[in-house]
């Protein structure tokens, strides 16, 4: 009997944490921002190398950055989003992460 108490608590904690879990399931977006100096072909090459996207998709994303000022290039778990953001920054692109609204 003594052991049931902690188990119940664990169950309750699990239920309480469900709300938080739902909250953190909103994906994190990796955003790349436009700048006036980076050659378009360089952006395409960096996207292809970091994400492994097709040339067509990389070109579409590059054009979205160019015309709209920013583009969402990847979406998912926070840790991976942060990792991709760092890779993009190391490659010289202006990038940030933000949680999906």
């Amino acid at each position: 009997m003594a052991s049931t108490q902690p188990l119940r608590r664990t169950t309750t904690e699990g239920e309480v944490q469900t709300d938080d879990a739902v909250e953190t399931k909103r994906p994190w977006n990796v955003i790349v921002w436009n700048d006036p100096v980076t050659p378009m072909t360089v952006v395409v090459v960096i996207f292809r190398k970091i994400f492994g996207y097709s040339n067509n998709k990389c070109t579409q994303l590059m054009l979205a950055v160019h015309h709209e000022g920013r583009a969402l290039v990847w979406s998912g778990h926070r840790e991976r989003a942060e990792g991709y953001c760092v890779k993009l920054q190391v490659a010289g692109l202006q990038s940030t992460i933000e949680q999906d609204a």
Binding site: D35, P36, V37, T38, V42, E82, V90, A91, G92, E98
Partner: protein, 139 residues
Amino acid sequence: MFIRRRDGRVEVRMNDYGRSVVRSAFANVLAAERDPDHEWHVALTGPIDPSLDQDNPVSMLKRQTETSTNAELASLTVDEQFLNDAEAWVWLTTLQVALRSTAQTNGLHTDEQLAAADEQMLAYVHTLQSLLFELAACF
């Protein structure tokens, strides 16, 4: 200036002036990463998550380490005639970091600001862009 050869290596065909521009760019990125007072340092430490007061220290360290490692390898190979794939990649990323740091440090955030930049600055930006354009074609 950069040619992808059949054996996979990238050949660098650059005169002394080109090498000096590249050498200076690599050295500046390396110095900026190590020296908080360097004028490019702010450009290298932009926010990862702007909604936070401070980014995850692990990610910040990873960014610093990778940028430094790339700039070091680029500096070590600056006089080489042939680059392997990894070396060519760090040349590209380090030149791109140098280009964007130059733009950011000199307030070139828009096309209009770039168009209004002085001739010397424009010439430097165009030189880095030309190098990047040709190097990107090798990937």
